[in-house]
Amino acid sequence: MQVEYISAVNVVLGVLSRFWPVWIALVIVMGASFAYKKKLALYGQLFDSGVGIVGVGICLFWLFTAIFASTISPFDPLAQVPIMKDVLPGGIEPQSGLVYLFGGDKLARDVFSRMVYGSQIVLIIAPAATGFALMVGITLGLPAGYYGGKIDTVLSFLANLVLAFPVILLFYLLVTPGIMDTPIPYALAGVFFLFPIIFFSVLFWTRYKNRPDRIYILLGLTLVIGGWIYLGLVFDKDPLHIVHIDPNQLNIFVAVVFASSPGVFRIVRGLTMDIKTRDYVAAAQTRGESPWYIMLWEILPNARGPLIVDACLRIGYTTILLGTLGYFGLGLAPESPDWGTAIKDASRLLRSFIHPALPPTIALMSFVLGLNLLADSLREQSMKD
């Protein structure tokens, strides 16, 4: 049986129309942002420059693609239709009459659906891992910069130790199937996932310790929610079975947090050393505030500008790291639709077929580009103030 094709123009139109939920959501969010940009502080200022608009647009595009993935993609990312093997873009699947918009890969799966579903994996792991890395880096970087001395020496040495590891070697050692038989990933996860709980507990305690009406609610909430997620992620013993993570995803997650938190640590440490010489810190010290209050409520809010910019860049960098992991076939399942794995599979067959390689590469590149543009325009806007 011969596969029938639709024309190139129809492929473009088909792709554009498949993304309809994304366009609607984009129009609503961008429109609202434009209308209220005066009231939206830093986020609103992004809409003053072309670079900022493009950056926000690309990031939101992928965010909505990830959210509406099941509506956008015509096929299941893992479903194989034998007749569609290596089919060129625009091939019509005979049974359902739907189109393989970007063609089929060597295992006869729809490249378009895989690209759309791949965004889900990236958009869950990359920001979450960056968030944890930020927590770890901040919680350790603040005291290192504020106290200096021995704490600083020890922590900086440890951070430099991790930074001296070439990332690829670290991944080959930390993300292997064998390591999941050992307690190492779980121990690391146990340590890393503790940091957000510590961070928020200290944050609330230093601020509200003399206000029993607030402190008990906030601390209780932190411990209950934090403990619940902690149980689910580290021990996979969530009593309600909502929080769950696959062992190999946990492994990747831990490795990525491990690789990127020393970078955050260095930035926070540098910023803290700079900010602690300011007058308002001296004023707080004279008032007799505790060191952790000064770190979390005086220094940290004033370091937020560079940290937000760094977080944007870091999400992009984490996306690249995830792609590297996929490219070397580390951690993620071989049939996983993430972009790195797709690039690996397609790049081996470039001599015969190029169409399965292009969608994931362009997707990954555009998402990272969007984040970098966003970071650049954030940096420019925060410099203006």
């Binding site: 670079v51 040495f157 430099n160 130790l161 930074l163 001296a164 590891f165 070439p166 990332v167 690829i168 070697l169 080959y172 050692l173 930390l174 292997t176 199937p177 064998g178 390591i179 038989d181 050992t182 190492i184 992009g316 690249i320 792609g323 590297t324 490219y327 070397f328 790195g340 690039i343 690996k344 397609a346 790049s347 470039l350 001599r351 190029i354 390689a357 292009l358 590469t361 990954l364 590149m365 990272v368 580009l369 984040l371 970098n372 543009l373 650049d376």
Partner: protein
């Protein structure tokens, strides 16, 4: 200055000691040893025989003893041949000694590769040479281009040239090697047919045809980053008082840029280029695997994939050494180039 360098070298030695111990620990985890034993013995070997192989080849000694042996502070013991009961060579293909000898990294013996059935040194150093050639061409392409882009962009901040070049460099930092490699291969090898999509033949002889794609792929990610740093540094220098003075003296814009601004603007990019080496290392691994170029990265992947303990340790030692030495050079070089720091 001298005491600073000595102190840094001391920290470096300590860091390398810690890192190699961590690597040693991670490579010698139980599942990895099992995998090694399975790959080194014949098929369908029983669990006892696997255990016997491990014990017989010295993998069951105390962790610190084995680390000491690898390092060369403890003597390497020959294995006992189970049939004759006499001491025998641990790996015959590496000509291991039959008497206890101090033979570790400190003595210059990197051990024995179980995958390639050869000494690590005979495998690692040719690979490093091949990567050295690749690195040379990458730097030769990357540094001039990125400095030029950075200077042109930073010369007149906010101009159209600046905008275009800045967005271009942001785009290049958003393109990791495995993305640009695929895109370049599609354009130049599959579509236009100008270049070879594989650099496997480059081991015999480097030609423009087989070597351009790897060099291009590796350079593009770094170019954006260095160009942005150069631009930032250039922009800062161009706002200085002495530049204004030089302009007001009536010097032409071109001569102000070349004679007054450039020298000072290039201090910061020097550090950045040096610190770029650790990133290049990851890039080298991706590019060498992608274009099948038999260099250091290719060896590292082979070693990691086959659980080749000594070879992987050798690779990590080399890469950690490169990272640390470039950090040292960048610090010393920065102090040397910047008179304000040199005087202190």
């Amino acid at each position: 200055m001298l005491s600073f360098v000595i102190r840094r070298l001391g920290t470096m030695a300590l860091t390398m000691l810690c890192l190699t111990m961590i690597v040693f620990f991670l490579i010698n985890l139980e599942p990895n040893l099992k995998k090694l034993a399975i790959s080194q013995t014949e098929m369908h070997t029983s669990a006892e025989q696997l255990e016997g192989w491990l014990a017989n080849h010295g993998y069951r000694q105390n962790f610190f003893v084995r680390y000491g042996q690898w390092l060369g502070v403890l003597p390497k013991q020959p294995v006992t041949d189970p049939t004759t009961g006499k001491p025998a060579q641990r790996f015959t293909f590496c000509n291991d000694p039959v008497v206890p000898t101090f033979s570790g990294v400190i003595e210059g013996d990197f051990g024995c590769s179980t995958k390639f059935k050869a000494t690590v040194a005979s495998k690692l150093f040719p690979a490093l040479g091949a990567t050295g050639i690749l690195m040379f061409w990458v730097l030769a392409v990357m540094v001039p281009i990125s400095l030029l882009i950075g200077i042109l962009a930073g010369m007149r901040e906010g101009s159209r040239t600046d905008r275009v070049l800045s967005v271009a460099s942001i785009a290049s930092t958003a393109t990791p090697e495995y993305v640009s490699g695929v895109i370049f291969t599609v354009i130049f090898a599959s579509w236009l047919g100008w270049l070879n999509g594989s650099a496997a033949s480059a081991s015999q002889g480097i030609t423009f045809y087989n070597f351009t794609l790897p060099v291009m792929t590796l350079a593009i990610y770094g170019i954006g980053y260095i160009a942005r740093m150069t631009r930032a540094s250039m922009v800062e220098v161009m706002t200085q008082q002495y530049i204004r003075t030089a302009r007001l003296k009536g010097l032409s814009f071109g001569s102000v840029v070349v004679k007054h601004a450039l020298r000072n603007a290039l201090i910061a990019p020097f550090t950045v280029i040096m610190l770029q080496f650790p990133w290049l290392l990851t890039g080298v691994v991706i590019v060498e695997v992608m274009f099948r170029y038999q260099g250091f990265g290719y060896t590292l992947v082979e070693a990691a994939g086959n659980n080749d303990i000594d070879l992987l340790l050798g690779c990590s030692l080399v890469s950690v050494f490169i990272v640390l030495i470039t950090q040292l050079i960048s610090d010393v070089g920065y102090a040397f180039l910047n008179p304000r720091i040199r005087v202190q």
